[in-house]
């Protein structure tokens, strides 16, 4: 793996804080639905097919309401990523404050990993398309 571990620095803490703020801002914007900012999915409107991330906002709402299975059904990859991301956002500040080594990927990722990630995204997309049945 092209991931090395390095000591945590103060700038890691600021990265965590900024990213948490950005994520929180996105949550507010998506859930409050600022008019004109996030409407329906233009990809879905134009082609009649869900985009790879369709259902993510609804999955977030379902997760916040504690409905885990419906969230998974709406967009499995997004639901898993949301849960893991939330956990990571919670533990990251403590991790950095404790000075534990943080991962740092300096080299390009190997082709196999990149193709694997792409395959996961495509499989998730295929699931969304099949589930919607062209609706």
């Amino acid at each position: 793996m092209p991931i090395a571990f390095r000591p945590a620095t103060r700038s890691d803490l600021s990265t965590v804080a900024w990213l948490a703020a950005g994520a929180a801002a996105s949550v507010v914007l998506a859930l409050k639905g600022v008019p004109g900012l996030i409407g329906g999915c233009p990809f879905h409107r134009a082609l009649g097919l869900p985009c790879p991330t369709c259902g993510t906002t609804r999955a977030l709402e379902a997760l916040l309401a504690g409905r885990w299975l419906p969230a998974l059904a709406l967009n499995p990859l997004a639901a898993i990523a949301l849960v893991l991301g939330a956990i990571a956002l919670l533990i990251a500040p403590l991790w950095v404050l404790r000075g534990w080594p943080v991962p740092s990927a300096r080299e390009p990722w190997p082709r196999s990993i990149r193709l694997g990630l792409l395959a996961i995204v495509l499989a998730n997309w295929a699931y969304l398309v099949v589930r919607d049945g062209g609706r």
Binding site: G22, T56, L117
Partner: protein
Amino acid sequence: MDQEAPRPPEPPWQWSSGEPPPAPPPPAPLLPWESSEQPLLPSLLSTVQLMLRDGGDAMQRVKRGVGFARPLAYAVLLSWLGAAISAAYQLFLNQSLWRLLPGLSHDTHTEVVARGFALLFTPVAVAASAFVGGGITHLLLVLLGGGRSGYRSTVRVACYANTPAVLSVIPLVGPLVALVWGIYLEVRGLAIAHEMPIGSVLIAVILPAVVCCGCGVWFVASVLGLAILGLGSGG
């Protein structure tokens, strides 16, 4: 018979004439906005001028892999300014239009409140777009085999690529010009920051907008959460 031992070949970086090796090129000067020598307003203006006049040179000057505060403040300031002026003239244009078409009902109060609300949220939207949108782009850069300067560099470039937002003050065509120019700046900046080919960067910048629309923000916010501890940050 004594023979002179063959001389080992000289390394290519040594000059046989005894001249010193050429000095590495000096680092590009910092962006005025990132240097603390100038007062705030002049540094803002000269950075905007530089970005609009020579985007490539300006993006060379963006520091890599350091803090977010300055670039984010820059992006918020310019976007808010563009949005505020654009909202004002749109309100004015709409009023003129409704006066010409008195038969149609129009609630000015609602429009003012909606535009004010949108202005209030502009800084939030800019922050979300920089960190989460930058995250989407960075993820794609990594998948395309690049992004070695790290997530922070991507976000910094994304912030400075907001410069053309000031062009939104131009009625009608301004926002469109700002959008295209912003994409150009972002592509140039990311290609420079991550030392990647323009084509790959273009895919990383355009693809999320085309395929993932607006709904991808959550997905990447989460993935970035996992990578939050500096994955690809390069220190």
